[in-house]
C-alpha cells in the first residue's frame, strides 16, 4: 500500500461521523467517566418544526387592515369562565408559566411577580409552594397543585387567584423532577418538609388520584375547598393533546394549559427533554379540535406554552386557536438569564452565554436559578420586574401589529386562515396551507 502522505499525494479528508459526531462522542465519554446521565434545565434544544415555519398572509383585497397606533386592537382575555365565580381577566394574552421557588431565587420570583403585575397579567407558583415574594408582588397569582404537594396548604390555596393542577409539562411528559441538594437551603427545605441539603425528588404522578375519573373528583374537592371561586386549570405536557384536552374538559377543567416540548424545566435528564413529547406547533390543533368537538372552544380556554419568544409566536399560537400563551424561559432571559455580560463566569463553569443550562447546580452567574446569597443579590427584583414588563409589552405590541395587519380588532380574532406554512411538516402540524398552494397535508388533496 502506498503511503499517500509521505509521497505528497491527495488523500481522503478526515471525516467525522454524523452518527458519532464529536458532540455525541463527548457525551459518551462523559457518561463513562461520571456514571450519571446528563441533567440540565431548559427545554428541547434540537430543531423541531416551530412557529418560524408559519407566516401571516396579511390583509389583501378580501380583507382590510386596521390602522396601526390609531384603531383599537384588543388584547384582554378572560380565563376560567366555565365554572369559576371569579374568572381571571388578563390585560394581555401572555402569562408567566409556573417556576418553582427553590429552583429560582426569592428575588427572581419577586421580579416575575412585579413584571407580570405591571403588564397586567398573572404569574404562577411552582413546585415548592407559594412565597411571600411572589404573592406579595403578583396581583394575579396562579397556584400550582403538583404531584409533590411541597408546601401545599388550604390557606395558600384560598389566597390564589387560580389553581393549576399539573399533570405534566412539555419538557418531560411522564417525568418527575429532581432538585439537587446544593439548592436545598434551610428555607427551601422547610417549605418542602425535607432535610436540608439532600436531593429532592418531585414525583411524576399525583399521590392520590390516577386517571381522568379520579381527576374529576380531585377537581371537585379543590372547588369545594375554595368555594368554587377560582378557576381551575389543568396543565398537560405535549404528549397526546387531543385526548388529554378532551379528558381535562371531561374532568371539569376551566382552562387547559398545553406545554410543548420546547417548554423548559428546572432540571431533568437531557435524554427526556430531547426525546419525549411533541413540538408545541404539533400540539395546538389537536387540542383545539378536541375543544371544538366538545363544543367547548372559547368556553374552556386554551393556554399554550413551549418556545414562545416573540409577538409573532404569540400571534401564531392565538391564530391556531389558543386563548392565551404562557412563557417561562423567555421570561428568565428577560430578567437576565444567559446574559453575555456574565460570559467570563460562564466560561469558568465550562459553558458560554446562551448555552448555560445547569440551572440545577445553583451556580447561576445571573443570580436567577440559585439559592446562593451572593449570586441572588445580583438580580435586582425591581429592575428585573421592569425588564420583564417591558418585554411583555413588546410581545403584546408585536402581536397587535400582526393582528391589525390581518384586519382584526382583537388578538383573539386571529384565525388559521391568516396563516400559511413554509414547510410540508409545518403545514401538516398547523393544518394550514403550504405557502403558494391550497394544500393542507392530511386535509386536502
Amino acid at each position: 500500500m502506498k503511503d499517500q502522505k509521505r509521497e505528497g499525494l491527495s488523500r481522503t479528508v478526515p471525516r467525522q461521523s454524523w452518527t458519532f459526531s464529536p458532540e455525541v462522542n463527548a457525551e459518551i465519554r462523559r457518561a463513562a467517566e461520571t456514571g450519571i446521565y446528563d441533567i440540565r434545565g431548559g427545554g428541547a434544544k434540537r430543531r423541531v418544526p416551530h412557529f418560524d415555519d408559519l407566516l401571516f398572509l396579511g390583509a389583501s383585497m378580501s380583507r382590510y387592515p386596521l390602522e396601526g397606533y390609531r384603531e383599537t386592537c384588543g388584547t384582554s382575555v378572560q380565563l376560567g369562565t366555565r365554572f369559576a365565580k371569579n374568572p381571571i381577566t388578563l390585560d394581555i394574552p401572555v402569562t408567566i408559566a409556573g417556576m418553582s421557588f427553590g429552583s429560582l431565587s426569592g428575588p427572581a420570583k419577586e421580579a416575575l411577580g412585579r413584571g407580570a403585575s405591571a403588564a397586567g397579567t398573572s404569574t404562577t407558583t411552582g413546585d415548592g409552594g407559594m412565597t411571600e415574594e411572589e404573592r406579595g408582588h403578583s396581583t394575579k397569582l396562579v397556584y400550582q397543585y403538583l404531584p409533590s404537594r411541597y408546601g401545599m396548604n388550604p390557606d395558600d390555596l384560598r389566597r390564589a387567584d387560580a389553581i393549576e393542577l399539573v399533570v405534566g409539562q412539555g419538557a418531560k411528559p411522564g417525568g418527575g423532577g429532581m432538585l439537587l441538594g446544593q439548592k436545598i437551603n434551610e428555607r427551601v427545605a422547610r417549605m418542602r418538609d425535607l432535610p436540608e441539603g439532600i436531593d429532592q425528588r418531585s414525583a411524576c404522578r399525583h399521590p392520590d388520584w390516577t386517571g381522568p375519573d379520579d381527576l374529576e373528583i380531585k377537581i371537585l374537592e379543590l372547588r369545594e375547598i375554595t368555594g368554587w371561586k377560582v378557576p381551575i386549570y389543568v396543565k398537560v405536557g405535549g404528549a397526546r393533546p387531543f385526548y388529554d384536552t378532551a379528558l381535562a374538559v371531561k374532568a371539569g377543567a376551566d382552562v387547559v394549559v398545553l406545554d410543548g416540548m420546547q417548554g423548559g424545566t428546572a432540571a431533568t435528564q437531557d435524554i427526556f427533554i430531547e426525546h419525549v413529547g411533541q413540538p408545541t406547533l404539533a400540539c395546538i390543533r389537536p387540542a383545539v379540535q378536541a375543544l371544538q368537538d366538545l363544543g367547548m372552544h372559547r368556553k374552556v380556554q386554551l393556554v399554550v406554552s413551549g418556545g414562545i419568544r416573540t409577538g409573532a409566536d404569540v400571534a401564531k399560537a392565538l391564530a391556531l386557536g389558543a386563548d392565551a400563551i404562557s412563557i417561562g424561559t423567555a421570561a428568565l432571559v428577560a430578567l437576565g438569564d444567559n446574559d453575555p455580560k456574565w460570559e467570563a463566569e460562564y466560561q469558568k463553569l465550562g459553558t458560554t452565554a446562551g448555552a448555560y443550562d445547569d440551572w440545577h447546580e445553583g451556580r447561576d452567574p445571573a443570580g436567577i436559578s440559585t439559592q446562593d446569597p451572593e449570586l441572588m443579590a445580583r438580580l435586582d427584583p425591581v429592575e428585573g420586574g421592569r425588564r420583564l414588563s417591558n418585554y411583555l409589552k413588546v410581545l403584546t405590541l408585536e402581536c397587535q401589529t400582526l393582528a391589525r395587519a390581518c384586519g382584526h380588532n382583537h388578538v383573539n380574532n386571529l384565525e388559521p386562515e391568516d396563516l400559511c406554512a413554509l414547510t410540508v411538516e409545518a403545514a401538516a402540524m398547523a393544518q394550514v396551507p403550504l405557502a403558494g398552494t391550497g394544500w393542507v397535508p392530511g386535509k386536502t388533496n
Binding site: 450519571i36 404537594r149 441538594g181 399521590p207 392520590d208 379520579d214 374537592e221 375547598i225
Partner: protein, 227 residues
Amino acid sequence: MQRIDLDDVALRELNEILQAQGDDTNQTSWEIINPKGSHALAVGLDAPIEVTIKGSTGYYCGGMNKQATITVDGSVGPGVGENMMSGMLKIAGDASQYAGATGRGGLLAIKGNAASRCGISMKGIDIVVHGNIGHMSAFMAQKGNLVVLGDAGDALGDSIYEANLFVRGNVRSLGADCVEKDMTPDHLAQLAGLLEAAEADADPASFRRYGSARKLYHFDIDNAAQY
C-alpha cells in the same frame, strides 16, 4: 348538636356551612346523615368543631382539614384526610387507597384496614391503623409517624425520607432504602402517645420501627439497581 341530612342539603351547602365555622363558633357539634358515599365531604374545615358522619364516604373525606375532629361511622374511599394540616380524623371502618396522602399534621386513626399507599408522601401527619395496610404504603414518606397494629404489605416505606414507621405485625417486604431501626425509649414513649390518642390497645414494646437508611439521599450510580 346540628344535624345535616345530605338527602336534603347539597354537598356545596354542607361544606359552606362547615367551612363558615370559626375559632369562636358556639356550634361545635355536627352530625351528617345519609352521606351515601359522597365525595369531598367535610373538606377544608378550619375550626375546633366535631363532625360525625353517619355512614360511609367517597373520595377525600376530611381533605386539608385543620383543627376539626371528624368521625366517620363507616368506611371511607380513597384519599381520606389528604393533606390534612391538623385536627383529627377517626374512621370506624376501613380506608381505601392513599389514606392520609401528603398529610402535614394532625392524627388520622383508622379502626379497620387501610389499602395500598397509605401515608404516601406524608409530610408530618400521624396515622394509626388498627388493622393491616396495603402495598407501597409510606412511599416517599417525608415526615410524621405511621403506626400499624396489623401487617404491612409489599414495599413498605419505599424511598422513605424521615418518617417513622411502627409495625406490630408482619412486614411482607421493605421498599428501597427502608430498613429496620432501633426502638429507643423516646420512640417507645412517642408510640405510646400515638396509640393512646388513637384509642388503640397495644403494647408499644411489641412494635418494630422502620425508617430510612438514607442511602438514596444523594444520587449515586452504584445504587441504580435500587431504583
